[in-house]
Amino acid sequence: MQQINHDSEERKLVSACIRNDAKAQRILYEHYYKKMYVVALRYSKTTFEAEDILQEAFIKIFQNIQNFNFDSSLDYWIKRIVVNTALKQNRKILEKMHMEDVAEIHDEPVADTVFATHNFQELLKMIQKLSTGYQVIFNLYAIEGYKHSEIAEMLGISEGTSKSQYARAKAQIQKMLEKEEEKIRINQTA
């Protein structure tokens, strides 16, 4: 796989993609598809869904690459498109999400437990077990690093709802992690 090492090379590649050069598009695809596939998997339940998201995202990337003006890294720009595509795919579900008013929620505060390192595939399975709404908010906050105010704007919900949904998602993830670590402890003692 051809590496994209320097800014100048990146600029040349982007320029070639703007000209609809198939070879340049292939190089870009080869460089980013594996990483972006994992991003897509985090927002979906099955490999089919993830592939659909990835495919749709790359089409948008090539159709809109002329709008990329190097004010951010290409990596970040591509990832944003993948995430937005995933959100669009899940939009119908997100619209139907039962968004309760934060005043009515009496969530238990979640202890900030520390956990041993797990590989990403185990963690991916945990994320995919969450319901779609929790899955999206958990990804946006815990992994992408968005603030609750930004998430609220992206999803068209209140900040309080975002916090509440995240708290519940985190609690579920925590339980799954504790279960997983219990299994590891049992196996180790056995």
């Binding site: 339940k45 089919f48 993830a50 089409i59 956990f115 994320i127 690093g145």
Partner: protein, 464 residues
């Protein structure tokens, strides 16, 4: 606490920072991306404005051609009438010559029964025949061209048969008629001896037209006959355009070939509102288990005769067709639901298409002597313009990706049929038609479809 222990956010962030995985269908995805991104330039025909303008221009052109042809025929008729008036009018211009001829010409009229009543008016005098060719075949001395009354037969040969009692004379004359040796300019000569309307009257004895008399000798019937026959052709040319209406009942075959792998299929997507999966092979269902509904098309047909038996035709019609297939899906129980086992749902998907079809065909039509039944065959192409195509599954959580149905498709077409002439200008028809697209109607990496239709149609035509 171990150094590597982290809180949840740190744990997930660091785990996914450089995470990568190989998707199972990397190359297939690339093919789809390329086909979407590297699309050929949009053809003008894909734009609605161009399509509407083209159809409007074609209709305007057709109307223009029809109007031009009508004008042309009107001029020809006017010319014919003026020619008739140039040729001596029996009642006015030749009155003087009539009187003169009355003394020198011998008028003999043959009478055959009640059907052959003679006109005894002053204008209806028979001219003397004269040989123009001394070929020995037609050296009649009799001065006879008989004017038939309304009840006489219309066929010119039958007219001749009525006149000759001598079979051998008749045979000789008929042979000459079938193989006329008359040079072209004799046609002109014939016209100088007989008015056009007189010639018509021999071919159509229902029309009674007085004869002109002049000093010129009479032509033999054998010389007149080719002119008479020519008049038949002229009459046919007057009805060389037609406009008609036809309705077809078609058997439609989608003829789908799935080109992508059966499993996992690229044809099917699920939304995640419910936990559906494909529990059967949808590609197989599409390929082997399609249920087709009958297709109906109705339209207008316009045609023109070109030459003796050949014709050109076009028109416009509306066609609607539909097929469906059942590809059951499975709903797996989700963690939060009370459902304990997977449930299978029958999922019938229907594909409905409507289009405008504009044919262009060339064909051959018989013209029988009976003028009652004729047959025709034709072949050509159609432009199939898409109006609407929709793929509708039972469950909205399921979507199928067949690709884009092309706005314009070209098809081969062949027809054969029978015409029943109710009147000389109005006919009904029964037609068999076959139509097949020349290429796939879908722009898709997953499947191709080259449908064909076999139809039976009933219609009517008006000639003008």
């Amino acid at each position: 606490m171990k150094p590597q222990d982290k809180n949840i956010e740190d744990l997930f962030r660091s785990a996914f920072e450089n995470a990568s995985l190989e998707p199972p269908r990397k190359e297939e995805m690339w093919t789809h991306i390329q086909s979407a991104v590297q699309k050929p330039p949009v053809s003008l025909w894909r734009t609605k404005r161009f399509r509407v303008s083209s159809i409007a221009a074609s209709i305007a052109l057709l109307i223009g051609l029809l109007y031009y042809s009508y004008q042309d025929n009107a001029v020809s008729s006017a010319d014919k009438k003026s020619n008739e008036s140039v040729v001596s009018s029996p009642s006015v211009e030749n009155q003087a010559s009539l009187d003169e001829q009355a003394l020198t010409e011998k008028n003999t009229l043959l009478k055959k029964g009640n059907e052959n009543e003679l006109k005894t008016e002053k204008n209806n005098k028979v001219e003397k025949k004269q040989d123009f060719e001394s070929d020995g075949k037609s050296d009649r001395n009799d001065n006879d061209i008989v004017l038939k009354s309304k009840s006489a037969k219309s066929n010119s040969n039958d007219v001749l048969k009525d006149e000759f009692e001598n079979e051998s004379e008749l045979s000789a004359l008929l042979e000459n008629i079938d193989n006329p040796t008359t040079p072209k300019d004799e046609k002109t000569l014939a016209k100088t001896y007989l008015e056009v309307k007189e010639i018509i009257s021999i071919a159509n004895p229902k029309i009674i037209v007085p004869f002109a008399l002049d000093k010129q000798p009479v032509l033999q019937l054998v010389k007149v006959a080719p002119v008479v026959l020519q008049t038949d052709k002229d009459e046919k040319a007057e009805n060389e355009w037609w406009i008609g209406f036809t309705g077809f009942y078609n058997h439609y075959t989608p003829n789908i070939t799935v080109t992508s792998p059966d499993l996992p299929t690229s044809l099917l997507k699920f939304s995640t509102t419910r936990n559906f999966t494909d529990c059967t092979n949808v590609a197989k269902a599409i390929r082997d288990d399609i249920q087709v509904s009958p297709s109906i098309s109705v339209g207008i047909d316009i045609g023109k005769l070109v030459g003796k038996n050949w014709f050109f035709r076009s028109g416009i019609s509306f066609t609607n067709f539909r097929y469906s297939f059942n590809s059951p899906i499975l709903e797996k129980p989700s963690a939060s639901s009370a459902q304990s086992r997977a449930i299978r749902y029958e999922n019938v998907t229907s594909n409905t298409t409507s289009q405008i079809v504009i044919p262009v065909q060339f064909g051959y039509q018989s013209f029988s002597k009976s003028n009652l039944l004729d047959w025709f065959v034709a072949g050509g192409f159609t432009s199939d313009i898409l109006l609407n195509n929709s793929l509708t599954p039972t469950y909205s959580e399921v979507t199928y990706d067949f690709g884009t149905y092309k706005s314009l498709n070209i098809s081969f077409t062949g027809s054969a049929g029978v015409l029943y002439h109710v009147t000389p200008k109005f006919s009904t028809l029964l037609e068999l038609n076959y139509r097949r697209t020349t290429s796939s109607v879908y722009d898709s990496p997953n499947l191709t479809s080259q449908p064909h239709w076999i139809g039976v149609g009933l219609g009517a035509r008006l000639k003008f």
